[in-house]
Symmetry: D2
Subunit: 278 residues, 4 copies
C-alpha cells in the first residue's frame, strides 16, 4: 500500500497532534510514522512530519483545511508514489555527481535526475551511461544573468537544485526561482573555514578532523541553514592534497544524505536552522 506524507508547521499551542491525528483518523488514514518537534528558541513553533496510508493524498490534504484555518497551519501533502526530480549543477569535480547518479540508479536515493548542468564540459561523459541529459552552460565573467536565465529554463519544474561542487555563486533571483530548494555542499565543517581553499586553511591550522557541510543556499555565502555535516580524522602526515582526497569522501557522503533527507521531506527550515526528521 502506498505511503504518503504530510509536513506541517504552525505556531505552537495545545492540541495540534490530536487535531492532525484526529483529522487523519476521521478519513480512515493510518499513521505509519510520525515525528514532531517544537522549536522554543524564538516564538514557539511546531513542526510535524507524518507518514500515512489508506487514503489518497488529495483526500488527506482536503482534510487538513480546517486545521490550516484554526491553527494558522501550513501543510504540504506529498504523494509517496511521485518520484522527485533533481537538477545537479557541477563544474569539473565528479565525485559528488557520481555519488548522486549512482544512488538514484540503485534506488537508495528515491529521485530522478532530470538534468545535469555544467559550466564546463568535463563531466558530460559521466552522465552518458546513466542516460541523464548534460547541459553545458558556460558562466562568463560579467554575464551570470544570461547563464542563470538558461539554467532556470532547463530546470523548470525540478523539485530541487543540488550544487554538487558547482563552485559558482548563484544570484538571489536564481534562488527565488527554486523557492529556496537549492542545496550546496561546502568543503569544510562550517562555520570553520568559510570561503575558498578550506583544505589549505585546515592544513595551515593543523586541525585533526576535516569536515563537510550540506546546507541550503541563501543570499549570504556559506551561511544558509545546515542540513548535514560530518568529519573524518586526519593527521600531521597529510598535505593539503591528501586532505582533499579524504574531504571528497566526506563531501559526497554528506551531500547524498542531505539530498535523501530533502527528497523524503525530512528537512524543515526553521529560520536559520533546520529540523531534520532523519
Amino acid at each position: 500500500m502506498a505511503v504518503h506524507r504530510l509536513v506541517v508547521a504552525c505556531p505552537d499551542r495545545s492540541g495540534i497532534v490530536a487535531a492532525v491525528a484526529g483529522a487523519l483518523a476521521g478519513i480512515g488514514a493510518n499513521i505509519v510514522h510520525a515525528d514532531q518537534h517544537t522549536d522554543r528558541t524564538r516564538e514557539p513553533e511546531f513542526f510535524m512530519r507524518v507518514e500515512f496510508e489508506g487514503v489518497a493524498p488529495e483526500v488527506a490534504d482536503a482534510a487538513m483545511d480546517p486545521l490550516r484555518r484554526d491553527f494558522a497551519m501550513t501543510v504540504r501533502t506529498i504523494d509517496g508514489e511521485t518520484v522527485p526530480e533533481l537538477a545537479i549543477f557541477v563544474s569539473k569535480e565528479d565525485h559528488c555527481l557520481r555519488e548522486l547518479l549512482h544512488e538514484c540508479r540503485n534506488g537508495d536515493l528515491r529521485a530522478r535526475v532530470g538534468a545535469v548542468v555544467g559550466n564546463h564540459r568535463e563531466l558530460e561523459e559521466v552522465c552518458v551511461p546513466y542516460g541523464v541529459p548534460f547541459h553545458h552552460v558556460p558562466v562568463l565573467p560579467g554575464d551570470r544573468e544570461a547563464a542563470e536565465r538558461r539554467q532556470i529554463e532547463i530546470c523548470r519544474g525540478v523539485d530541487a537544485v543540488v550544487l554538487a561542487k558547482y563552485m559558482q555563486i548563484v544570484s538571489p533571483g536564481f534562488l527565488s526561482a527554486f523557492g529556496g530548494r537549492v542545496l550546496n555542499i561546502h568543503h569544510s565543517f562550517l562555520p570553520a573555514f568559510v570561503g575558498a581553499n578550506p583544505y589549505r586553511q585546515a592544513h595551515d591550522r593543523g586541525v585533526k578532523l576535516i569536515g563537510a557541510t550540506a546546507h541550503y543556499v541563501t543570499e549570504v555565502l556559506d551561511a544558509g541553514p545546515i542540513v548535514e555535516q560530518d568529519v573524518a580524522r586526519v593527521d600531521h602526515r597529510m598535505d593539503p592534497r591528501e586532505l582533499r582526497r579524504i574531504g571528497r569522501q566526506v563531501e559526497r557522503a554528506v551531500l547524498a544524505r542531505a539530498v535523501r533527507w530533502h527528497v523524503e521531506d525530512r528537512v524543515i527550515r526553521s529560520g536559520d536552522r533546520t529540523v531534520v526528521f532523519a
Copy 2:
C-alpha cells in the same frame, strides 16, 4: 512546568495516535514531544512515548483507561518530578561505577544511586565522597542463593539494577525480582566475542575496532535485548592490555547512555530487541 510521560504499547491498528493524542487533549494536556514506532517484524506492534505537560500524571493515567480497554494497550504513566533510584553492582573495576556516580552527581543522569553492591570491598572508598551506601555482599561458590537474597533485600524498591562490571551471573529469580529491569555492560561488540576475555579474543582475531554493548539481562548469557553499542578504533600495535584500556572508555560511555535512556523511559523492550526513542 513539570513534564510527565506516557509509555504505550499495543497491537498495531488504525487510529492509535489519534486516540492517545485526543485523550490527552481532552483533559487539557499539551504534548511536548512524542515518538512512535510500529514493529512489523512479527505481528505488528505499536509503541509510543509521549512527553506532556499541563495535567497531573494521575489524571493522564486515568484518561488512558478507555484506551487500555479498546486497544488492549499497556500504558505506563511516569511522574516527571520523581527521581528514579538505581542500584549499582560492582566487583573490582571502578570505571563504570565512577562514571555513573559522576553523571548522577552533575545531573547529566537524572537518577539517584540508592545502593552500591560489591562482591568485593575494593570499591567501597569510591562511594564515600558521593555519600552513597556501599554494601559488601560476597558471593561464595555454591551459595549464590543466599547472596542474592541479601542483594534483593538491599535493593528493594529500586527502579533498575545496573551491573557495572559485576562479573557474576545472576539467577532467573534475581531477574524476576526486578521485573527485567537489570542492565549489564558487556565488554565486546555483541554478538562477537561472547563470554570471557573478549579483549584477548579481539587481539587474537586482529580486529580493527573494539566495542561494548549495554543490554538487558536475560536468562541466556550475553543474549539479552541490546540497548546501546559503540566501538573505538584500535590497531596492530595494541596488546590486550591496551585494548582493555580503550575498551574501558567505550564501556563506561555506552553504559552511561543506556542507563540514561532507561531512566528517561526511552527504551521499550520488544521481544529480543529494543525500541530506543533516544
Copy 3:
C-alpha cells in the same frame, strides 16, 4: 623524484633499524618515511616499511642482500613508478565495483583495473565507460574447477584479486595461484554474523551498529586476516532492507581503504593478523 619502498620482515633482535637505515644511507638513499612494528604475541617478529628516494629500487634491493642473510630477513622492494594491476570479481551488486573503478579513475586509488570477472552479466555495462574489460565466467554447480581455471588464466599477472561482493567461495588452488593476495569484503563486523544474510541476523539480534570487514581470503570461510573494518549506527526503525542500504555504504568505504592500503604495500600479514601501516 620517485619514491620507492621496502617491506621488511624478520625475527626480532637488536640493530635491525640501524642495519636497514645504514644500508640505505650507504647507497645514498634518503628515507622519506618509515614505519616499524614488533609483534610480541608469539616469537617476536619485526616488520618495517620504508619509503625512500634517491636511488633506483634495484640498487636498494641489492643493498639488502647482506641483511637478508644476516637477519634472516625477507625484503620486498617496490618500484614506486609501477602502477599495480587489480582483478575485480563481482556478481550482481555494483556498489563496490563502482567505488573501485571510480577511485582508480580519479587517482585516489593508485592502481589499474586489468579485468573485471563476473559470474553473472549484470555488471558488464558498468565497466564500459571506464574502458575496463569485463569477463563473464559463469560458475556452474559442480564445476567450479573449470571456472577457476579460466579465471586464473584471465587474471594472470595481476597484483591482487579483489572479491567485490563476489558471493562465491574460492578454492585453495585459486588462492595459491595468487599467492594469498586475494581480498574480500564481508558484509558484517566479523567475527559477528559469520556466513550468509548478516543483515537479517543483525536485525534479529537488534544490534545498534552494523559493520563491514575487508580481509584476506584463506581456506577457512570468513576467518582470514582482517585488514579494515568500520561500522555505521542503525536504529530500531530500520528493517533488513534499510540495514543493507547502510551496509553498502560501509562495505564500499571499507573495501576501498583496504585495497588502497594493499596496493601501497601498507598491509603485512602476521599469522592470522595484519600489521597495517596506514
Copy 4:
C-alpha cells in the same frame, strides 16, 4: 626491562634515521618502536620519536652528542621510569578534573597530579579522595599578576600545566614560566566558535556536530597548536544546555587523550601545528 625514549628534531637531510639508529645500535640499545615525520610545509624539518631499551637514558643521551653537532639536532632523552608531574587548573566545572584524576589513579594516564589550582573553591572536595593538594588562588580583577606569581610558585617543577576548564586567560609570563607546556581544552571544534559561549553559538548556527579542541596555549587566544579534536552528533531537539552536556563528554575525552600523548612525549610542536605520534 625499562623502555626509555628520544625525541629528535632537526633540519631535514639524508641519513638522519641511519645516524640515530646507528648511534643507538653502537651502544647496544634496542629500538622498540620508532616514528618519524618530515614536515615539508616550510623549510623541511625532520622529527623522530624513538622508544628504546637496553641502556640507561644518560648513556643514550650522551651518544646523541655528535648528532646534535652534525645535524643541528635537538634531542630530548626521557627516562621511562620517571612519572611526569601535572598541575591542573580549574574553575567550577569538574568533569575534566575528575577525568584526569581518575585516569591517573587507574594508571591509564601515566602521570602524577602534583597540584590542583582553582580560582574558586568549588572543586576542593573532588581532590580529597585522590590525596591531591588543592590550592585556592583567587584571580581578582586587575591583579592577575599576583595570582600568577603564586600559581607559578605552587607549580614549580611540574612537567605540564593543564587548564581543565580554567576559564581564565593566562599571561605571556605565565606561559614562559612553563616553557610552553600549557595545555587547554576549548569547548568547540576550533577554528569554529572562537571565544565565549560556543554552545550558544553552535545552537544558533544549527550545526549537526559539536566538538572540542585540546591545544597548547599561546599568546593568541584559541590559536595555539592543536593537539587533539573530536566531535559528537547533535540534532535540532537539543537546546544549548543539552549541547553543553554532550560537549562535556567530548571535552574530557579529548583533553585526556591530549594529556596522555603529551606526557608520553608523543606531541612535537612544529610552528603553529603539531606532530602527534599517537
